[in-house]
Each structure stands twice: as C-alpha cells, then as structure tokens.
C-alpha cells in the first residue's frame, strides 16, 4: 500500500508493468531523462535503462507509428503524448493501423500498445493544452478508450491496459493529477477494464461521468444527500467498450439520469450513453436524460475557461431539473 496521487499511480503502474513483463517499453518525447513533462515516467530510465525507456524525436506520428511496429513484433509499448491536443497527428496511425491490424490480418498480427496522454482543462494552460476529445477515439472500432478518475483506479486500469492484447488509448485527467491522494494497493490491478464503477449508491437519480468531472459530480451527490436525495454516481472508467449494463441497471432503479462530461456536447460520448438509454432503458425513464457538458466551442483560454467546465452549480441545476420532472 502507498499513498499516491494520480500521476504517481500512473508512474507506479508503469514501473510495475515493466517489472513484471520485460516486453513492456516506454517511449515518447521527454519521457527519459526529464521523466515526462508531468513526471509520469519519472525514474523509469534510471531503473530500467535505455533499452526499455526511449526519448523520441519531436514527432507524435512516429511515436504512435513506431509503437505499432514494436507491438506487432511482440513488444508491449506504452507511448506517451505530452498533451491530448498533440494526439491529432496520431489519428491516422491509430485509426488506420492500431485499431485494425488484428482485423485486417485475421489475427495474424496484433497491436498490444497503450497510447497515454494527459487530457482535459482547468490547469490554466495555453491553447491546445486543455482538450477533451475522447469521443474521437471512442468512435473508432478496435480501439479501447480508458479514463481513470482517481489514483487507485488509474493504477489498476493502466496495468490492465498494458496487459491487454488490444490497443488502448489511456487518457489521464491532468487537472486532478495531484489534487487527490489515495491508498493504492501496489502489485494488484483491482480496477478491471470494460466496467463502470459505481462510486456512490442511490435510489433517486443516476449521475454518470468520467475523468476530472467525477470530482464535481461526487460533490453534487454529496450536496443532494444532505437534502435526503440519493444520487448514484457512476464513473464510466472505460468508454469503449462501454459497460452499458451497469448504467442501465442503475437507471432502472432511479429512473432519472444526468450525464456529465467536459468535452463539447455535440458528438460527445454522453450522446452515446443517452442513446443507449433511449434504446434500451426508455421504459425505466421517468424524466428526460440531461447532459451537462462543455459548450460546442473551442475550450476558452484561462480567462474564461472556468465558465466552460461543468461546474457543481450546473450539475446541481440539471440534477434538480431532472428530479423535479413529472
């Protein structure tokens, strides 16, 4: 057991994975000597040496592409992109190759790689450093998209992502990289892929979220509980493939649902969850499904950014609206 922040948990999971499987390699810009711009790979070069940890030239396309080549050759590359805003040039590699190598070759070649990146806003950064475009990846058949929201789950999910035989896009909510500390059971990967996590049980309302927004969502559940309202909070954890059963089971019980995410609303992953509820849960629903999301704009620069991110205030308003619906 160790008390870790989320970014330390990522670091610990990387170390554990490298320890238990020598096929695991770490590559990316500044991941070696510098230990990554957020220190997620701190100490790995010293511990595992330059044949396991590689600083790459400044080129995201080749980071993702080389990881595919290494993976097809039997390594387990974990590639870091410094910010989600710099992942866009990896899309061709991830969509055209990582996601399909197994499918295209009828299982002859596979791509067991992880592409990690910090994502999301709220750190008062310059442009392109606050993106939440997870739905871009979640739309792609063949990719897994995993987003932890606490140190413990970050540790377990990352270990499982690295052990997973499929390509995984692993997005780390950097706003909460260092804001929470939690006991992490090292060596065991308790958080499974492909399952939602029920963080709080309740009978009156289901709140669904992922990433850093889980913090505000939990705070709202807490506020509601003081009014005697039971909000069930679900941390989606793995967006793709989605564990809709857990969400449906909850909504069957509560009849009401609010989905919270930082990404822009239109085409955001909340739309997929709402569609599944409409499709498979319509008869449980006692109120319209509401989404509290970023707006359909570029995420603003720091001076206006806080208006964009889903606040407890906005989540609470939506929750009360849904609760009041008859």
């Amino acid at each position: 057991m160790a008390e870790l922040t989320l970014v330390q948990a990522v670091n610990a999971a990387l170390a554990q994975a490298m320890e238990e499987d020598e096929r695991v390699l770490v590559l990316g810009e500044d991941v070696g000597v510098d230990g990554g711009v957020f220190r997620a790979t701190d100490g790995l070069l010293d511990r595992f040496g330059p044949t396991r940890v590689f600083d790459t030239p400044l080129a995201e396309t080749v980071v993702a592409g080389a990881a595919i080549g290494l993976a097809a050759q039997g390594f387990r590359p974990v590639a870091e992109i410094q910010f989600m805003g710099f992942m866009y040039s990896t899309l061709d590699q991830m969509i055209s190759h990582a996601a399909r190598l197994r499918w295209r070759t009828r299982g002859r070649l596979t791509c067991p790689m992880v592409l990690r990146a910090p994502y999301g806003g709220g750190i008062r950064a310059i442009e392109h450093h606050s993106e939440s475009t997870e739905a871009l990846f979640a739309q792609i058949p063949g990719l897994r998209v995993v987003i932890p929201s606490a140190p413990n789950r970050a540790y377990g999910l990352l270990l499982n992502a690295i052990r997973c035989p499929d390509p995984v896009v692993f997005l780390e909510p950097k706003r909460i990289y260092r804001t929470i500390r939690e006991e992490v059971a090292l060596g065991t990967a308790v958080a499974p892929l492909d399952s939602c996590f029920v963080l709080n049980e309740g009978r009156d309302l289901t709140l669904v979220s992922w990433g850093a927004s889980v913090i505000e969502t939990m705070a709202v559940a807490e506020t509601l509980s003081r009014d005697g309202i039971g909000a069930e909070v679900i941390d989606v954890g793995t967006l793709r493939p989605l564990d809709s059963a857990t969400i449906l089971r909850s909504v069957e019980k509560t009849g009401r649902c609010v989905i919270v995410h930082e990404a822009a609303r239109t085409g955001g992953f909340g739309g997929e969850i709402a569609a599944r509820l409409a499709d498979e849960g319509l008869l449980f629903l006692q109120a319209p499904v509401k989404r509290v999301t970023g707006y359909d704009t570029v995420i603003p620069l720091p001076r206006l950014e806080h208006h964009y991110l889903p606040s407890t205030d906005r989540i609470l308003t939506a929750a009360r609206e849904v609760l009041a619906f008859e």
Binding site: V33, D34, D55, A59, V298
Partner: protein
C-alpha cells in the same frame, strides 16, 4: 560511378562574441541608426521577457515561453521584413512580432490567456503564434502560394525550433514550398534543446539546414546570436523570394538560456555550468560591445535605451492588467461567421446561469 548531386552548407558569422568584426562588414554595420534600432529592439524584447516571467511568477500571466538568448533571431527577422510580408511565428518570436507592430499589451494578453492577444491591431495578415509544433510550415507554403498566384512581391516568413524539424509537417511544408517555388523563407531557431531533448537526439543529420536539400531548396547556417548576420541573410533570402527565385531555409544557431517555459525545470536535464558558458554568446552583449567599440555608444545613450524600454514595458503591463476579461458570451463569438441556432441556445443558457449566480 557518377556523382549526381553535391550539397554544401555554409555558416556565417559577421560579428564575434566580443563584438569584433570577423570579416569586412556590410554597409548596414556602419549605419548607426540601424544598429541602434536593432539593439533597442533586442533590449525591449528582453525587458518584456523579464516582466512576463515576473507576472507569471506572481500568478498574473499563464505559462510563458521565454525568448532569452534568442533575441537576435527574432529581431534580425523582424527588421528584414517589410509590412507587406507575412510572419508565421512560433512561441519565442516576441521580438519579431513587436517589430511587425504587435503591441506589448497584445503579447501580454496572449500569454495571459486571452484570445484577444491574437487579434493584432496592426499586422492584420500575420499569423498568430502556432502552439502545435511545426503545424504552421504548411501554412507558410500556402500563404506564399497566394502571393505567387496574385503576382505580388511579398514573402511568407516562418519560424520554428530545432525540435520542430523532426515533424512530418516540417518536411511537408518545405517540400511543397520547393515544388511550388513559392516566396517563403523558413527560419529554424536551433537553440540546442527541445524541452529536455538535445539537438543530437532529434536527428542524425549533421545540420538542420540540410533538410532543405531534400525539398530542393537552398539553405545556410548563420550565427543566430549575431543580429547583423541574421538580418543580412534574411534580407538576401527575402529579396530572392520576392523576385520569384524560390524559397530558402536559414538555420540560426543560438542557445536556450532559460528553462523551456515557466513550467519547466531545466536543471533536471542540463548542467547549470554549461548554460552559464553560453552567456558568453549572449546576443545583446555582443551588439552592445560592437556599439561601444565601433560607434562610441555612450553610457547616457545606454541608460536612455534601458529606461525607455522599462517605461514602455511597464506601461503595457499596467494596461494589460487593467483589461477586464471578455464577457462570458465571447466564448461563442467567432466560432462561426454567424452563430448557429443551437449554439445560440447554449450561449443563452450560459448567460442565464451567470445571471442566476449573480
């Protein structure tokens, strides 16, 4: 066997680190006003830099990329351009932007996290700072093609770092500029580092300049701490480009004296002593030594420049700090030419929420 091609890269330094000419100098170096103008522009850039870092340290500016040690490149480029040219800067080109007419207040706004910092009042056609590395080289090829299509005698000037030369967009931009023979000048600011990555870890090539050869483009290296060398190379390249003689690449060699940004701690990956030695090559010290030795630069003149730059930067900082944030609905402005109905509904919901919160 027949030799089918040969390539040579030349390096130019006109004034050495002590301010002494290394060869007969061009007329520019005799022009006191021109030399003083460049010196002043470099001092202004550094004064801005110092103030920006101080504002960042006290929470009044966002993460900031210092141009410390790179002032000669930005200034040499900025003075060589004419207003009709178009600048496509990267994050350490404050000096060039200022010479183009971008105001200090606009620079503060940009680094302070306000979109208006990219809406320059003066160089209306200049591009804003490009943050995703090297993604703007293709834009330079396109903008330069526009000049060519319209038969205009203008050039696009695009700067980037040494790390940027590893990216596909870098090669793609150069390649297209070469194929289309457009009036573009590319400047690679080789400051020896890309965050923690030393230049040698970016490429096994001997020079960065030679990457232009693969695009069929001429190239050269200059001492990027010698503002006269930078300017002379730029002026020649721009003259050729505007005359339709094709694009050119200049690798300007300098050194990043500061941390990568205010969010970086360079002591994790490089020795302070090594950095200290590079202060000998400080571009401002060099041109000042030249002014003192060759042009009777007086103590009074020196003090006047320093004081004037401080006053100017201070006034801009005050102005910046006094500018209130945009109203919240600005989030929705400029997303599209006209606001779509569904976006208008989101804007109204936000306004309602803000009013409710009071």
């Amino acid at each position: 066997m027949t030799r089918v091609a040969t390539f040579e890269v030349h390096y130019t330094r006109l004034i050495d680190r002590d301010g002494r000419p290394t060869q007969p100098l061009p007329p520019l170096a005799e022009d006191r006003d021109a030399m003083v103008e460049m010196y002043r522009a470099m001092v202004l850039t550094r004064t801005f830099d110092t103030r920006a870092i101080a504002l960042q340290r006290t929470g009044r500016l966002g993460t900031y990329a210092s141009s410390l040690g790179q002032e000669a490149i930005a200034v040499g480029v900025g003075v060589a351009m004419t207003p009709a040219d178009v600048l496509l800067p990267y994050a350490r080109d404050h000096g060039a932007q200022l010479l183009r007419g971008v105001t200090l207040t606009e620079l503060f706004l940009f680094w302070g996290g306000d979109e208006r910092g990219s809406n320059f009042a003066t160089p209306r056609q200049d591009f804003p700072v490009t943050v995703p590395i090297a993604t703007h080289l293709p834009h330079a090829a396109g903008a330069a093609m526009a000049f060519k299509l319209r038969g205009e005698r203008r050039a696009a000037v695009c700067l980037c770092g040494d790390g940027a030369t590893s990216k596909g967009d870098f090669y793609e931009g150069l390649n297209l500029a070469g194929v289309w023979q457009v009036p573009a000048v590319f400047v690679v600011c080789n400051n020896a580092w890309a965050i923690s990555m030393p230049r040698a870890a970016q490429t096994a090539a001997e020079t960065l300049a030679q990457k232009a050869f693969a695009a069929g483009m001429s190239c050269e290296q200059v001492d990027g701490n010698d503002v006269v060398a930078v300017r002379i190379a730029m002026e020649a390249a721009l003259t050729r480009a505007r005359a339709g003689e094709g694009p050119h690449l200049i690798e300007a060699i300098t050194y990043r004296l500061a941390d990568h940004t205010t969010a970086d701690d360079a002591s994790r990956y490089r020795d302070d002593e090594v950095v200290g030695a590079h202060w000998e090559d400080d571009p401002i010290k060099r041109i000042k030594a030249y002014l003192v030795d060759q042009m009777d630069w007086s103590k009074e003149e020196e003090e006047a420049v320093i004081a004037a730059c401080s006053v100017e930067v201070e006034a801009a900082a005050e102005a910046y700090l006094a500018i209130p944030p945009q109203p919240v609905e600005a989030i929705f402005d400029f997303m599209y030419e006209t606001l779509p109905t569904d976006l208008a509904a989101q804007r109204d919901a936000l306004l309602k929420e803000v009013t409710r919160r009071g």
